[in-house]
């Protein structure tokens, strides 16, 4: 439960506010920037909720905004913080980007949305597709007044009735992103596959869908013999359209989909995976005036696959200058704004190996080394710095890529059955697989 919601700029000035319960003085918001900067001076770790004089402040940061909820009760904190994120999501769909400007430009519709999304401090409808059906930017004509779509309160609150398409099609994208943490000596410390099945659904009526995957648990419970590989998903999360109790009973994924684009499910695998693009790095520092990086990148996947748009980002000291690069493939450039060198390779074939050498000059007079005493990460009380990683933090090498027609886990869509009892149309499901880099971090070795 939230008593009031505020949109603040980074200085803590209110841009827009909605008072839902009238049980907290709205002036309490003036204390927020003060409390925040006081807390920042105390410690670099300021939590997203705190209590002061009987009022609880829960906030998130988005672009150049704070979204803040106030409450005086022992509220469900997870719910309110998620609701704030949901506001960001819905508003972003409405206004493309949510920032100071878009708040100013769209205040009328923002009030309308806030009214619909929360009542008396309790979250209500936050499904942006449904909201868009009756809260629109064009003003309503006198004759046709908007009405609440039945879906708002329906059991199927995500799909309206009466949708018609000439051609009934479904596109399934199986997207896996790989998260890796590799130590400086090349050990994989942590690896994780986060998968998602995204759908683009252009189907008429109220179709019933059933999705079959090569899910190991499902094979086991139904006692079916498996041909080929089955995968074991650690944890699965479903869009609210999926009947959770059916999945619990017999692992059937059955649902009435929302119209258009949505994420049907996400899953997580903790299996040990080898890095698809292996990066080794040696750093050599020459008498403090020059620093040299030697990088080796190897594609550790099958020859018939290709990684696209590979980017290897190597952090370098902030004050490096006169960069010189040598590589046998792709392009390298120095990005001083990120204090990094970026090695780009458009296409990286399976099994291939490439090298790159970079040399940068360092100013002759060096300050203290990285551990200059008492640095707290550069917040310095300025409201702008919260949430950003500390400036001098030890940054790892990051790797980005995309490998089409390939999933790391081996997940497969076995079938997608579509039935619409009334309309009974033929329909076409399309499936695509892609693996992406998620958060891949290779810790940089110390200079030798």
């Amino acid at each position: 439960m939230a008593s009031a919601i505020f949109f603040l700029d980074l200085k803590g000035k209110t841009l827009l506010a909605r008072n839902y319960r009238g049980d907290i003085p709205m002036s309490a918001v003036e204390k927020f920037p003060i409390l925040l900067s006081e807390a920042e001076e105390e410690s670099s770790a300021v939590p997203p909720c705190f209590s002061h004089e009987g009022i609880n402040y829960l906030y998130i940061r988005h672009n150049n905004l704070y979204l803040l909820a106030l409450t005086k009760r022992n509220t469900n904190a997870a719910e309110i913080l998620l609701f704030l994120h949901k506001i960001v999501e819905v508003f972003t769909e409405y206004f493309k980007a949510l920032e100071e400007e878009s708040i100013r430009d769209n205040f009328v519709i923002i009030y309308e949305l806030l009214d619909e999304m929360m009542d008396f401090g309790y979250p209500q409808t936050t499904e942006s597709k449904i909201l868009q059906e009756y809260i629109t930017q064009e003003s309503h004509k006198l004759e046709i007044q908007a009405r609440p779509p039945i879906a708002v309160t329906n059991a199927v609150s995500w799909r309206s009735e009466g949708i018609r398409y000439r051609k009934n099609e479904v596109f399934l994208d199986v997207i896996e992103s790989l998260n890796l943490l590799v130590s400086a000596n090349g050990n994989v410390l942590r690896s994780e596959i986060l998968g998602a099945i995204k759908m683009k659904c252009y189907l008429s009526g109220m179709p019933e869908l059933r999705l079959g995957l090569n899910d190991k648990v499902m094979f086991e419970t139904t006692g079916r013999t498996t041909r080929g590989k089955a995968i074991e998903m650690e944890d699965v999360k479903f869009h609210q359209c999926v009947r959770l109790s059916r999945f619990e009973n017999d692992r059937t994924i059955s649902f009435i989909p929302p119209d258009g684009e949505f994420e049907l499910m996400s899953y997580r695998l903790n299996t040990q995976v080898k890095p698809l693009i292996w990066v080794e790095c040696v750093v050599e520092s020459h008498s403090g005036s020059r620093i040299e990086y030697m990088l080796k990148a190897r594609a550790q996947f099958k020859r018939r696959s290709t990684a696209n748009n590979v980017e290897i980002i190597v952090p370098v000291p902030d004050d490096a200058d006169t960069p010189r690069f040598r590589t046998n493939v792709g392009s390298v450039h120095y990005a001083p704004e990120k204090s990094a060198i970026v090695w780009k390779i458009k296409q990286f074939g399976g099994g291939k190996e490439f090298l790159m050498r970079a040399e940068l000059g360092l100013p002759s007079v060096r300050g203290d080394d990285e551990h200059g005493g008492g640095m707290t990460g550069g917040f310095g009380g300025s409201m702008g710095g919260v949430g950003a990683p500390g400036k001098g933090a030890k940054r790892p090498i990051q790797v980005k890529f995309e490998i089409p027609y390939f999933t790391t886990s081996g997940i497969q869509v076995r079938y997608l059955k579509i039935t619409e009892p009334k309309l009974q149309y033929p329909s076409l499901p399309w499936v695509r697989y892609i693996t992406q880099s998620g958060d891949i971090a290779v810790r940089l070795p110390d200079a030798v």
Binding site: S51, N74, P148, L189, H239, L244, N270
Partner: protein
């Protein structure tokens, strides 16, 4: 411009400026101009300008079929109703009409807004529309009306009960529409919480069944509501608990983390009744969803981590295989990193400590000071938790101390002191530590080193030299360090009496004669007395065997932990404090805050005399107009709704204990010196001056401020307050405070 004109200008309402232009727009004969003016008015309101003076003019635009415009006017009404309570009656008719509009969107809008206009006159007219909308054919209207009952109860509980709205809501738990069910449950549970005597929400097996049915069809937020209610339900027998767990467990797969946490809470509560085998099956099932929570947005992650911390304190093994998940990412916000460290130490065991240790060493070389210190501390905690790890930990700490980074060195010394207390055989590191004596500037680290020197004096050749140095500067040290110096020197004397008598004399002299801290003086006297008697007795007391330490990981007291586990996902579970400690009492109590809120609004209206006079003028001039427009009887321009202060809308609040225990005869709020507003306020005695009105509240506030620090947990890692403070009723802290407040008050008079 002539002088006469200027004088006239000063008395008439301003003819220029934004307000004037807006007013002209609002009464324009063209619809589009009116709409534009309304939008501009709302814009000005958004920017924080006071446009309450336009109230009558905005109100004239309420009867419109343009939905957008209607919403804006309603929004304006909600914001400024308090400043013109008497004029609100003009809107009643439209509201009542709108609540019967053929369009459900408008019916819902009307009832939703009526509940937000917290003015007596409006409440009086709410009965009929609310009764009708609760029975509306559209579920959208019903779900809005359900929440409106909670709004009404907040404003006028008697009316709510007398009209049987609570019974209607209870029936609505059986509504075919899941969202109506969820909102009814939400409203009832709020009412039940504020006024338990109403017994608004009492679950029976029949309602339980309905809730479990609705659970699978609700929106995500509805699910959170229902799950929260289920967690508070006391099952009648094992079978019922079993059933609840079975039905709720599928919710672990929901995409919304707050649904997952709410489901965890339900299962965690109800599985207690089940047999151990089922319990461990559920615990196993809970682990993957809990791990997935760590992939959500950082703020939500933080809530999840704080909750996982609680769950681990109750069931240390549930995540023992998942250590890697909690490794810090370099770009995690600091508050997440610190919490992850906390959890990793809890998960650490014989099998995974190697991994953990190499990770902790990595963190200890980062640059964020708080994080580094916490990582060093974690290494020490692991050493003490797992004996097999202790050697590796000590080596890691020695590596770290050689980095010579000031705060790392200090933290390492504090940590090693604890390791020495637990395990014998690491005395070899002491000479290394002593090398850094001059680096230490924090009382904790200095104290730790001095303790080590005293404790192992017989093994340190130059112990007397080291301590002599500290005795030199004894008077400049922190209290904490002084105590350690005192003890260390005495220990040294008992161990090596030959050449240290002078030193002990000196320090005892300084501690007793030149010092005015009773703690230090008393300790010095005790030592002195002991040393002047039989030295063997002194030895057996001072150098006695100390009890071994078992852990340096802080855990909550069991009673508090139990309470917090039933509060999972709430702020209490994030702060690790019982709700009573931060849901304010007295001046910061819920009721007081609400009163302050109401008063703030009224004050805003009164603080703007120009706006008020303009409003009055406008009212006078255009009253007939308004009357005709709205066609209802209207009792003249006098302030019709007699505002008896903050209690009008909330009569029950005056009887609340927070107020009874408050300052007798003192105004409850620092009113900002608005004497006239104080007069409006209910109870206060006549005050000699406005400034006197503010001071007692401020004086009484000092104590409150101190206690509110206890409620403010910004570090996220701080140890819980001592049990007495946690479990004792905060009310017991109040009397001395208020006493002090009234004394000050008397002094002022």
């Amino acid at each position: 411009m002539s002088a006469i004109n200027r004088i006239r200008g000063a008395f008439a309402p301003p003819r220029k400026g934004e307000t004037f232009e807006l007013r002209a727009g609002l009464v324009s004969q063209y619809a589009y101009e009116r709409k534009e003016a309304i939008q501009k008015t709302i814009m000005a309101m958004t920017l924080g300008k006071d446009v309450s003076a336009l109230f009558p003019d905005v109100l004239k635009n309420i009867a419109t079929s343009d939905l957008d415009q209607k919403k804006l006017v309603y929004l304006y009404l909600m914001n400024y109703a308090k400043s013109h309570p008497d004029l609100c009656i003009l809107a009643v008719n439209t509201f009542v009409q709108d609540s019967e509009d053929p369009n459900p969107l408008i019916r819902a809008l009307a009832i939703r807004t009526m509940g937000c206009i917290r003015v007596d006159k409006m409440i009086d007219y709410m009965e009929e529309p609310l009764r009708k909308t609760l029975r509306d054919e559209s579920p959208y209207v019903r779900k809005t009306a359900a929440i409106c009952v909670a709004k009404l109860f907040d404003l006028n509980p008697t009316m709510c009960i007398e009209n049987g709205f609570l019974e209607t809501l209870q029936e609505m738990i059986g509504d075919p529409n899941p969202m109506v069910v969820a909102n009814s449950v939400q409203a009832l549970s709020e009412i039940h919480e504020t006024a338990p005597e109403t017994r608004a929400l009492v679950l029976t097996p029949a309602t339980l069944k309905k809730l479990l049915m609705a659970l699978n069809e609700c929106t995500e937020w509805g699910r959170v509501t229902i799950l929260t209610t289920l967690a508070e339900y006391t099952a009648h027998d094992v079978k019922e608990s079993e059933h609840i767990c079975e039905r709720v467990a599928p919710q672990f797969q929901h995409v919304n983390p707050s649904v997952v946490l709410a489901a965890v809470k339900v299962v965690f509560t109800h599985m207690k009744a089940l047999n151990p085998k089922t319990v461990s099956a559920y615990l196993k099932k809970m682990a993957p969803p809990l791990v997935t929570l760590i992939a959500s947005a950082p703020e939500v992650q933080y809530v999840a981590l704080r909750n996982i911390d609680l769950l681990l304190q109750a069931n240390p093994d549930i995540l023992s295989k998942e250590l890697r998940v909690f490794f810090c990412k370099y770009n995690d916000p600091p508050y997440v990193k610190l919490q992850k460290l906390e959890i990793m130490v809890r998960i650490a065991n014989d099998k995974n400590f190697d991994q953990l240790l190499s990770e902790l060493k990595e963190y200890a070389l980062e640059v964020d000071m708080d994080f580094v210190r916490r990582a060093v501390k974690a290494i020490g905690q692991v050493a003490i938790k797992i004996e097999a790890a202790s050697e590796k930990c000590v080596n890691a700490l020695l590596d770290l101390i050689s980095t010579k980074v000031n705060y790392v060195v200090q933290e390492v010394i504090v940590v090693i002191k604890d390791i020495l207390r637990k395990y014998p055989g690491y005395e070899g590191v002491i000479p290394t530590l002593c090398k850094y004596i001059d680096e230490l500037d924090e009382p904790n680290a200095r104290g730790a080193l001095i303790w080590i020197v005293g404790e192992y004096a017989e093994k340190i050749n130059n112990a007397d030299e080291i301590l002599e140095g500290f005795v030199e500067g004894f008077l400049e040290e922190f209290t904490q360090t002084q105590l350690q110096i005192l003890t260390a020197v005495v220990k040294l004397f008992l161990k090596k009496p030959s050449n240290t008598q002078g030193l002990v004399q000196k320090v005892l002299q300084q501690a007793t004669a030149d010092n005015d801290n009773p703690d230090i003086r008393d300790r010095a006297y005790i030592y002195w007395r002991l040393l002047s008697g039989d030295l063997d007795v002194a030895k057996s007391i001072i150098l006695s065997q100390k009890p071994a330490i078992t852990t340096t990981v802080t855990s909550l007291p069991p009673v508090l932990l139990e309470q917090l586990l039933s509060e999972l996902s709430t702020l209490a579970s994030v702060y690790h404090k019982p709700p009573e400690s931060f849901v304010g009492k007295g001046r910061f109590g819920a009721d007081e805050i609400q009163r302050a809120a109401i008063q703030e609004q009224r004050q805003n209206a009164a603080e703007n005399p120009i706006a008020a006079s303009v409003a009055a003028a406008a009212k006078g001039g255009q009253q007939n107009n308004v009357e005709n427009l709205l066609d209802i009887d209207f009792d003249g321009g006098a302030p019709a709704s007699a505002e008896h202060g903050g209690g009008v809308g909330t009569p029950d609040r005056f009887g609340s204990p927070a107020n009874v225990g408050g300052l007798p005869g003192a105004p409850p709020q620092p009113s900002g010196g608005m004497a006239d507003i104080m007069g409006l306020f209910d109870a206060p005695p006549p005050m000699p001056s406005a400034s006197a009105a503010t001071s007692p509240a401020a004086a009484g506030g000092m104590g409150d401020m101190m206690s509110s620090f206890a409620g403010m947990d910004l570090s996220g890692t701080s140890a819980p307050p001592p049990p007495g403070q946690q479990l004792g009723h905060p009310a017991s802290q109040t009397p001395p405070k208020s006493g002090g407040g009234s004394e000050d008050l008397l002094g002022l008079f």
